[in-house]
């Protein structure tokens, strides 16, 4: 800059400096010297902008700001900390532009420096809050995912002499677990329990009750051989549980008595199991019982069946209550479907789930669970 310092420069209400091509401060105004906490003689012709900011700012100048100035001719609102002679840091915002000279070494850079203590403190707090929020959101999402994964019904075990196929399809886009569940577990030598059920509601809250019901059934199965007795105890446990939710359940005890599988079961408010015979005929099994967890004196009865070469199909209401417009999928579609399927647990399970999904264009309103059991001694050839 030539001539006397103008009032506009010297008394500007912001820090103002002119740098030479090497980045050294040629001129600094009063406000800048105040921000820097240094005298004019210390700064002018002696120190570069890089020497007036923090170490990180120095790197940032060389790796970001100077390249931007060289290529764009200006920078705006760069946040830096100037470091005063006594070491105190002052947060500032820096804007600058470049005026080329006739020779490269006559290039001048004008820099405006604004104190930004309050603004930067606010921004730092804001940044911190954003990070906290983001971390909390990530934790919550991760927790929900982990929890839901543990609540999805597991793959059924391999049982000698028994062919088992199960499928579970959550409602909607599949991200929210519902209340459907199934379980197959051993209670004694040659003796297994198969359960299918549905807890009212959806989401993690329903799924925790689902887990409670599943584990309670497992515990009660060891004490009560008769499935109807088991349901009475389960009814009491759900009533005692701190929840307004109730459930529907089918419990089937399977005993291998040497001549094949002998079934005893009981139904609590749940759609009746289906029996598919090798000739393709299909019938419902058992009688409806009370909902589980609603009334103090429920009524459950026991059904018996020799499995033989039949298939036992357990399913939840997500199948028959699948809805297209105002039409329900219903038993009138399910029974012919099971009848037309191959006489194989995997085929029946897959056909039922597929049909229920197709009926709702692949976007189920409720979750769907299907569990099919068959004597596995002479599995029919696939196809």
């Amino acid at each position: 800059m030539s001539g006397p310092r103008s009032d506009l420069f010297e008394n500007a209400p912001c820090g103002y400096a002119v740098l030479d091509a090497s980045g050294r401060v040629v001129e600094a105004n009063a406000e800048l010297l105040r921000l820097l906490g240094r005298s004019r003689d210390e700064v002018e012709g002696r120190l570069s902008l890089a020497e007036l900011v923090s170490a990180g700012g120095r790197i940032y100048l060389d790796t970001h700001v100077y390249p931007m100035l060289a290529l764009n001719g200006f920078v705006r609102e760069v946040a830096l900390d100037v470091v005063q002679a006594d070491g105190e840091r002052v947060p500032v915002l820096v804007s600058a532009n470049v005026t080329p000279g006739p020779e490269p070494d006559q290039t001048r850079t004008r820099v405006v420096v604004l104190e930004a203590r309050d603004r930067r403190r606010y921004e730092t707090d804001l940044l911190e809050s954003m990070r906290t929020i983001e971390a909390a959101r990530r934790d919550a999402a991760e927790l929900a995912e982990t929890l839901q994964r543990t609540l999805i019904p597991p793959t059924p075990p391999a049982v000698e002499g028994l062919s088992i196929a199960a499928a579970y399809r959550p409602a909607g886009d599949g991200r929210e677990v519902g209340g459907d569940f199934y379980d197959v577990f051993q209670v004694a030598e040659h003796e297994w329990l198969a359960v299918i059920g549905d807890v009212t509601g959806k989401g993690v809250a329903a799924a925790t009750v689902t887990a409670f019901v599943r584990h309670t059934v497992r515990a009660l199965a060891m004490q009560f051989r008769d499935p109807a007795d088991l349901l009475v105890e389960l009814n009491r446990a759900v009533l005692d549980h701190d929840t307004d939710r109730f459930c529907t359940v089918v419990v089937v005890r399977l005993v291998d008595d040497g001549a094949g599988w002998s079934l005893t079961g009981s139904i609590g408010g749940h759609p009746l199991p289906l029996v598919r015979r090798p000739d393709g005929s299909v019938a419902e099994l058992g009688t409806h019982g009370s909902l589980v967890g609603v009334i103090d004196a429920p009524i459950f009865s026991t059904f018996r069946h020799r499995l033989g070469d039949d298939l036992l199909v357990l399913y939840t209401d997500g199948v028959i209550e699948a809805r297209r417009d105002r039409t329900l999928f219903g038993l009138e579609r399910l029974l012919p479907l099971v009848s037309a399927s191959d006489h194989d647990p995997s085929a029946v399970t897959a056909d039922v789930v597929e049909a229920a999904l197709d009926f709702q264009d692949g976007d189920p309103r409720d979750d769907i669970a299907v569990l099919t059991l068959g004597s596995g001694r002479n599995p029919p050839p696939p196809g």
């Binding site: 060389d62 060289a70 290529l71 946040a79 921004e123």
Partner: protein
């Protein structure tokens, strides 16, 4: 995805000419070669690129685990040269990419016939008698400075970008701000850059090498360049009178002269 797409690679100059690969350093992107690339492209096949995570590269390819080692960037360079069928390549690396260039040469010695290391530093942190110029707290300060300058990315607009991957114009609006790469990537790359140590790799270099820098470089002082020069047998060192870490922007004429004289030898 092709390496050329991933790295936003652009070629210029005669197809049959000797290839020069220009690799930018930490901070910005290939536009840093704005002044020198057209001049070199008069008689060289010039290939410019953005390191994965910078500029117009494929940001989704930035896997922090993979790119926690400079070797990953070196592998990208090798993959790009192979994909483009380049041989007898002059590899020009600025700043941290000087070390990436060394690693690429060590990984695929058959591809590269000369190295130009612009403003190199084998280690930025001081270590005993070795002067890198920085302490760990300086690097922490850099990360905070970068955070303060990434407010654009913390804004509601950034939230919109994340929530609308199908509206790339939102991201473009943010990314158009030159030298402001995505904060989480820039932060990670800063750590990888400034906490690295490649001093032991230098002695293994076996091709003609030019160490090129300015007299007053606050990031990689002459002593850092001298160390690189001393460790690479037969290397040449040119110090340009001037300031700053980016001679190809601040002194393009001198930079070109040094590179041309080196290649003519």
């Amino acid at each position: 995805m092709d390496a050329a797409v991933r790295l936003n690679a652009h070629a210029s100059g005669p197809a049959g000419a000797r290839p020069i690969l220009l690799v930018h350093g930490f901070g910005c992107d290939q536009s840093m070669w704005h002044h020198v690339a057209p001049e070199l492209a008069v008689d060289h096949r010039v290939v410019q690129l953005d390191l994965v995570g910078s500029g117009g590269s494929d940001l989704d390819s930035y896997d922090p685990d993979r790119y926690s080692r400079l070797e990953a960037h070196a592998e990208d360079l090798v993959a790009l040269c192979r994909e483009l069928g380049l041989e007898d390549v002059v590899l020009v690396g600025h700043s941290v990419s000087a070390m990436i260039a060394v690693l690429a040469h060590l990984a695929a010695p058959e591809l590269f016939s000369a190295l130009v290391l612009v403003g190199p530093s084998a280690r930025y942190l001081d270590d005993g008698d070795y002067v890198g110029g920085f302490s760990p707290s300086d690097i922490e300060d850099l990360l905070e400075t970068m955070d303060s300058n990434h407010l654009g990315w913390q804004s509601p607009l950034a939230g919109l970008v994340m929530a609308n991957p199908d509206r790339p114009e939102l991201a473009a609006e943010l990314e158009a701000t030159f030298c402001r790469n995505r904060p989480e990537i820039a932060r990670h790359f800063a750590g990888v850059t400034f906490l690295g140590d490649n001093r032991d790799d230098l002695r293994k270099v076996t091709v003609p090498t030019l160490v090129l820098q300015t007299r007053h470089d606050a990031i990689a002082p002459v002593s850092a360049g001298q160390f690189v020069h001393d460790q690479i047998a037969g290397s040449q060192m040119v110090v340009i009178e001037g300031h700053g870490h980016v001679p190809h922007l601040s002194a393009p004429t001198e930079t070109l002269k040094a590179i041309r004289e080196f290649l003519a030898r």
